[in-house]
């Protein structure tokens, strides 16, 4: 069973891996044949070399970015879920807060970065706040939608069993909203690291954003690419953590999906 699943997974990813390899080789060949200058477009091998040579620098710059991303993501998720619960629990909050929440979603959050610098300076706080804002919206909205979509009959059934409001949330509403909440978290996760980077561009002394700016200002384009690779790696790791925790907290969901796939 496991071996079969593994070969199937391998078959699924092989085309993507082959395509990526072809692109990278073509890129390397193109740069060498046309003798492209490094500041314009460095060859993949050069980028990997830069990545290796500046690894110490990259790691020390990655630390503050990781701290900003992790703090902002966790706080954003907590506030987002809490807002969703409050909005669905109290009708007044829904009328007062929810329309505003939807309207504010159209404001590009990144545009708030300069404002955050004016208010909170150049320290850790404005970067974390920017990440919090970016994560908060999708999580809050998907939580409200998930909690609203609960089967009324399930809620009624629990009430006949004498369940309190809190128990209805813990046993039915939140578990049934979990797939949606994780969806919101995944959207938030993909924007988390880039928001921290944008926050750093507004003014910081360390961080991957600072590394990128310095490399770019000195036309060390191979290092810019190395920095971009590091940012992408962080994003993928964060996304992976969210996906993994979803698998751990919702085993039934994936079991059911797998069964559906097998019957198709």
């Amino acid at each position: 069973m496991v071996g079969k699943a593994r070969t199937r997974a391998a078959r699924e990813y092989i085309p993507a891996a082959v395509f990526l390899a072809v692109v990278v080789v073509a890129w390397e060949v193109l740069v060498r044949v046309t003798d492209m200058p490094n500041w314009l477009l460095p060859a993949p091998l050069r980028i990997v070399t830069a990545l290796w040579q500046t690894r110490g620098q990259l790691i020390s710059h990655a630390v503050p970015t990781i701290v900003e991303s992790a703090l902002g993501f966790v706080i954003g998720v907590v506030i987002g879920v809490a807002t969703g619960v409050v909005v669905t629990r109290f009708a007044l909050f829904r009328r007062a807060v929810y329309p505003l929440l939807i309207a504010l979603q159209t404001v590009p959050t990144m545009a708030l970065a300069p404002l955050l610098v004016v208010w909170f300076g150049y320290g850790l706080l404005p970067k974390v706040l920017l990440v919090v804002l970016v994560v908060f919206y999708p999580v809050a909205v998907s939580t409200v939608e998930g909690l609203d979509a609960v089967d009324r009959k399930l809620v009624n059934l629990l009430r006949t069993m004498g369940a309190s409001d809190l128990q209805v949330y813990l046993k039915v509403r939140i578990p049934s909203a979990l797939p949606g909440i994780y969806g919101g978290m995944k959207v938030g996760a993909t924007y988390t690291v880039i928001s921290a980077i944008v926050g750093e561009w507004m003014g910081a002394s360390r961080g991957l954003g600072v590394y990128l700016l310095r490399a770019s200002n000195s036309f060390a384009t191979d290092r810019v690419f190395a920095g971009i690779l590091a940012v992408a790696a962080l994003s993928i790791v964060l996304f992976g953590i969210v996906a993994l925790s979803q698998r751990l907290t919702m085993p039934w969901y994936f079991k059911q999906q797998r069964q559906r796939e097998e019957t198709i």
């Binding site: 009959k153 009624n156 059934l157 009430r159 006949t160 004498g162 369940a163 046993k171 059911q256």
Partner: protein
């Protein structure tokens, strides 16, 4: 009835629903019924006769416009938690295994769960669920899901159970098996059961007494005692006595609509 105070009594209940634009629909009209302790009573009626509304009122989920619900002679109108309610669909929580679904009511009550868990382990065999304790609902057949839902209802620990067409969604063969099984389980547990169905044969086979309801507005038009022996083999459905009872209920149903 032998009992002075009925276990469950519905007293002159009426309910209308507002349809908007000043129009309203009378769902129930002066419905009264009594269930003795440990009695299995069915309620038969055409679709849309307000059976589900009546159940919502007995369960305390909906307030009637008029009338009361009495449990052991005490007015419990609009109060939840006194009767166990098994709705039409199984409504199992998809993220819980069989065991976890069944333990829902004890969990909500709080306190020590070991005793409840031991009781479940004893009952799980009677409910034909051994070997499926850790399966999720989507891994079970329709009949099994209904049995899990019924066991969950039993674990609510109320000695009155409302069953709303629990076998309505099952195929005919599974349905017959489930009827025989339910009757035998009830003989062991002796809970007071109010069973809603629009299948006359099902009602007569399962019950000690059958109430017949009319179409909208729902009223009780007939009451029929089923004097068959307590232990009922499936073959009883072809006995002349059974057939006579069935046509009696059928006639009441026809004249009420």
């Amino acid at each position: 009835m032998a009992h002075l105070v009925a276990h469950l009594e519905v007293n002159d209940v009426s309910k209308a629903y507002d349809q908007g634009r000043g129009q309203s629909v009378q769902a129930l009209s002066n419905v009264s019924l009594q269930l003795g302790r440990g009695e299995f009573v069915s309620l038969v009626g055409p679709s849309g006769c307000g059976k589900t509304t009546l159940f919502d009122i007995i369960a305390g989920l909906t307030m009637p416009d008029r009338g009361q619900v009495l449990i052991d002679g005490i007015d419990r109108t609009g109060e939840t938690g006194y009767v166990s309610y098994m709705p039409q669909e199984d409504l199992l929580l998809p993220w819980r295994t069989t065991l976890q679904n069944v333990m829902l009511a004890p969990e909500l009550r709080g306190g020590d769960l070991t005793e409840s868990r031991q009781e479940v382990m004893k009952l799980i065999d009677l409910f034909g669920l051994s070997g499926f304790e850790d399966s999720y609902p989507f891994e079970l057949s329709g009949g099994m899901r209904q049995r899990v839902a019924l066991l969950r209802t039993v674990m609510c620990k109320n000695d009155i159970m409302l069953l709303d067409e629990p076998f309505g969604a099952l195929d005919a063969i599974t349905r017959r098996d489930m009827q025989v099984w339910l009757r035998s389980v009830w003989e062991q547990l002796r809970i007071t059961v109010l069973f809603v169905t629009h299948d006359v044969e099902e009602a007569v086979y399962l019950s000690d007494r059958v109430y017949v309801m009319s179409g909208r507005p729902g009223r009780i038009v007939h009451e029929c005692v089923i004097p068959l022996e307590s232990s009922r083999p499936r073959t009883i459905t072809s006995s002349p006595e059974f057939i006579a009872l069935r046509s009696q209920v059928m006639d009441a149903l026809d004249s009420g609509t």
